[in-house]
């Protein structure tokens, strides 16, 4: 997440495509080493990875697949798990099927470890909680193991018509995860079809960013992001856990994995790391080993 305002001034903005920042000569923490930062937006991760390999970019975002293809010795910056990937049942679906057994069955069917180890290439953490372990400290108490047998038991009494639902996934990069969830659901007795139109889906595969390292604020931001009721304020860990448990109790949101922000970094980039545990960018201490036009230079 760009957080360059302290050391850089915005010089050019093309919504959704490009942003150019220039060094703030009057920065309170001193002028940054880089003269400017040119940010290309909306590029697929695969293309970004190629740009990095070809030297057309110095810092790119990496997905699990791109992470596999990183050249040996390439530097990778990774934040703490700051994004939660979850299944979010739409209010429309909840209106159709008030019976929570379907939602619970889907939650039980998902094989989180397989997704984490294979599709996410072990990035982040498997979790049944909204807040990451490193923020809340109690995330491990939320169950993550799949239980297809119990899921089938829950669905046993339901008519076949209620066992069919659509899973929307807007980001094509997440489609393999959705397909795997659909496969897990199939063996649990649910007919899940993956569709790209998330708006019309019964359940969506979504990600939400943890906005703060403060547990209470982070939980509140996540609840807001998922459209859940605002949790009560809690000062203690127990209170916070109870509030979080209350949020996910009805399985309207099913946390799956907490993911970090991962960036591939060109060898030319010196200094850093340029991101914080929360994934914020701090480029003021970075410099480029070789001068390249338009992208900054040696301090």
């Amino acid at each position: 997440m760009p957080d360059l305002a302290a050391a850089f001034n915005i010089a050019r903005w093309e919504a959704g495509r490009r942003a150019v920042y220039e060094a703030n000569e009057n920065s309170a923490r001193g002028r940054p080493y880089l003269d400017s930062v040119d940010i290309q937006m909306g590029k697929p991760l695969h293309d970004q990875s190629i740009d990095l390999e070809l030297g057309r970019a110095d810092i790119v975002e990496l997905g699990p697949s791109e992470l596999l293809r990183q050249t040996a010795g390439r530097r990778v910056w990774s934040s703490s798990p700051v994004r939660v990937m979850a299944l979010l049942f739409s209010p429309r679906f909840s209106a159709r099927f008030e019976d929570a057994r379907i939602r619970e069955a889907l939650a039980l069917a998902v094989d989180r470890p397989a997704i984490h180890s294979v599709l996410m290439q072990r990035q982040g953490e498997v979790s049944g909680a909204l807040l990451p372990q490193w923020i809340s400290g109690y995330a491990f108490v939320f169950p993550t193991a799949s239980d297809a047998a119990r899921a089938r038991t829950l669905l046993a009494d339901l008519p076949q018509g209620q066992r069919t639902l659509s899973l929307g996934v807007e980001d094509a990069a997440d489609r393999p995860i959705a397909e795997r969830i659909a496969l897990n659901a199939r063996y649990a007795g649910l007919a899940v079809s993956v569709i790209p139109q998330a708006a019309n889906a019964d359940v969506r595969l979504v990600q939400a960013r943890v906005g703060s390292a403060d547990p209470a604020r982070a939980l509140a931001s996540l609840a807001a992001a998922f459209g859940l009721p605002e949790p009560p304020h809690a000062d203690s860990a127990d209170g916070l856990e109870a509030a979080e448990r209350a949020l996910i109790e009805g399985f309207r949101v099913v946390p799956l994995i907490h993911l970090p922000d991962v960036y591939g970094v060109s060898p030319r980039v010196k200094g850093g790391p340029g991101i914080t545990p929360l994934g914020e960018w701090h480029f003021e201490n970075l410099w480029i080993a070789e001068s390249r036009s338009g992208e900054g230079g040696r301090p």
Partner: protein, 589 residues
């Protein structure tokens, strides 16, 4: 129907039947030959498909073994974490032209699946228990895909690296594309039933162009193969749309029935051939019938001509021309028949002449007897009278004149009787030809009955006339017919010396819708006649009475015969007699 027509019909039917039999035989043999060739063709195709399967299987085995022996497979096998190879199967399957490919770890967990990428980490336990996959080669397998089950030709190979094992299971789907690669001769197609469900599913029947229309019709054949697991044949449809199907089971590596491959051979060619044969047969049959009719016309003419001549000659014999003979033109059965006919007519003529001669002699004898009898009666008084006159002249001269006067009177009376007798004989001999004119027989009968009323009353006979009002005048000689009727009435009166009843009936005879003659009966209630008497009754000079010349009924018969009529008598002893006369339109002749 004439004999010749029947003979021609027999010949024609024989020709048509022979042609039909030949046509049937040719059609039957043609069908047998076609089906034999068809069976050979299907067998050759089955062998070809088996070879094709073997070739495809070998290609799949080679591809799978190629993957298994690659460095990539070794890398995967020894990798501590299989997660980074989740997309490897898709890349390898594309590179080796496989529809299906799974890389499976030694514990059976899927490392990577090309056909279902999301199935990583699922277990494929069947691989561990499959034994020597290399020896097994390619085999059929029911494979589950996200879209459902498919039938595939699969091979398995193993990569061993130290104590690590990686299974490589790859293959190709048996689908529409697969079927389209099988070269089928014209008029044939190959169909595949994928036996993927427990129940018959018509949607699983495909050919090279996709799902098959009217697939449900194939169910009996498929069920037969599913039950027996053996090859089976069937014919579906009718006419040119019919197809002969040969089905063979496709078994999986566990000897389970996974599919039924069917070779459908159109019978259009056979139907076309049969139609052509039928058309030719009809033309040949028509020509045969025409030739047969011609030949039978000629043959029957040769056979029936002498028969017809015989029939005509027999007709002439029946008409009285007993001397008719036929020409003997051959030595065969017909010739023998003609010779026998000629002998028969010759014998008939000879016998008739002998009979006529005998009858003539008998008639003359009867005539002599009758003449002697008739003449003897008046001659005896003549002789007595003359002797009396002689005696009177010698012994009583004074009384001679008176005796002479009485004697001459007696002589004249007896001479008159002799004259009458001679006259009657003369009349019979001189019967004139009838002079035809319309005669009202009802009137004739009435007048005759009226004439005989006193005589009937004296004889205590009740006379009655039953006349048909429909009767119209009939051509006849009125005088002769009056004589006929009187003779019959007199004959009836003589037959009833103790009295009785006399009935005369007239009836109009019909020819078509119009009256054309008269039938007349004179019946009495006398003693009747024996059959022998009936037979001789119309013989001249024959009589059952003590008086009479025996010419009355002979004259009646003669008159009726001259009118081309017919007379007969019906009688039984003690039940009277009826004399019937028929005069028809022939009387006009």
């Amino acid at each position: 129907m004439t004999f010749r027509t029947r003979l021609m019909l027999v010949f024609t039917v024989a020709v048509v039947a022979a042609v039909a039999v030949v046509e049937l035989l040719v059609a039957s043999r043609t069908r047998e030959a076609f089906e034999s060739v068809e069976a050979q063709r299907v067998r050759a195709l089955v062998d070809q498909v088996h070879r094709d399967f073997a070739r495809r299987g070998l290609e799949i085995v080679q591809a799978v073994e190629g993957i298994a022996s690659s460095e990539t497979a070794v890398s995967i096998a020894i990798a501590p974490d299989y997660g980074r190879f989740v997309d490897e199967a898709a890349a390898q399957s594309a590179a080796h032209g496989l529809d299906l490919l799974e890389l499976v770890a030694g514990d059976g967990a899927i490392v990577s699946s090309a056909q279902w990428p999301a199935r990583f980490a699922f277990k494929e336990d069947w691989l561990a228990g499959g034994g020597d996959w290399k020896a097994r080669g390619a085999f059929l397998k029911r494979e589950e895909l996200p879209t459902g089950f498919v039938l595939a030709l699969v091979a398995v190979s193993q990569t061993r690296a130290g104590d690590r094992t990686l299974y490589v299971a790859g293959g190709q789907q048996l689908d529409r594309e697969f079927l389209s690669t099988l070269a089928m001769p014209a008029g044939m197609r190959v169909l595949l039933y994928r036996n993927l469900d427990a129940q018959f599913s018509p949607g699983e029947i495909i050919d090279a162009s996709g799902p098959v229309a009217h697939a449900a019709a194939l169910r009996p054949l498929i069920d037969q193969v599913r039950n027996s697991r053996r090859e089976a044949d069937s014919t579906l449809g009718s006419g040119a749309e019919a197809e002969t199907l040969h089905a063979l089971p496709l078994l999986g590596y566990e000897n389970n029935l996974l599919g039924v491959l069917m070779f459908a051979s159109s019978r259009r060619e056979l139907v076309s051939l049969e139609a052509s044969l039928l058309q030719t047969g009809i033309v040949v049959a028509a020509a045969g019938i025409v030739v047969g009719i011609g030949l039978s016309w000629w043959a029957t003419a040769r056979v029936t001509r002498p028969v017809r001549q015989l029939a005509e000659s027999a007709g002439r014999v029946a008409a009285g021309n007993w001397g008719t003979t036929v020409e003997v033109s051959s030595a065969d059965e017909i010739g023998q028949l003609a010779r026998a006919f000629n002998r028969m007519t010759h014998e008939l003529v000879a016998q008739r002449e002998r009979l006529v001669q005998a009858e003539r002699v008998a008639a003359w004898r009867e005539l002599a007897r009758r003449l002697a009898h008739e003449l003897k009666n008046p001659l005896f008084p003549l002789q007595i009278t003359v002797e009396n006159m002689q005696r009177a002249r010698e012994r009583y001269p004074g009384q001679f004149d008176e005796v002479f006067r009485e004697g001459t009177a007696t002589l004249l009376a007896e001479l008159d009787k002799l004259k009458q007798i001679v006259g009657r004989f003369s009349d019979f001999a001189k019967m004139p030809a009838p002079e035809m004119q319309p005669v009202d027989f009802n009137k004739l009968v009435s007048e005759t009955m009226k004439l005989f009323d006193p005589q009937l009353a004296q004889a205590r006979i009740a006379g009655r006339a039953e006349l048909d009002p429909r009767l119209r005048p009939v051509q006849a000689d009125q005088e002769q017919m009056t004589r006929v009727l009187r003779n019959l009435v007199l004959n009836a009166i003589d037959a009833m010396p103790q009295g009785g009843a006399l009935t005369i009936r007239t009836m109009a005879m019909q020819t078509g819708a119009l009256p054309a003659g008269v039938r007349m009966a004179v019946s009495d209630t006398g003693q009747g006649l024996t059959p022998e008497e009936c037979a001789r009754l119309f013989t001249p000079y024959y009589t059952t009475k003590t008086h009479g010349t025996g010419l009355g009924l002979a004259i009646v018969q003669s008159v009726v015969s001259d009118h081309h009529g017919r007379i007969w008598v019906e009688s039984e002893p003690g039940k009277g007699a009826s004399f019937w006369i028929e005069l028809g339109s022939d009387g006009d002749r």
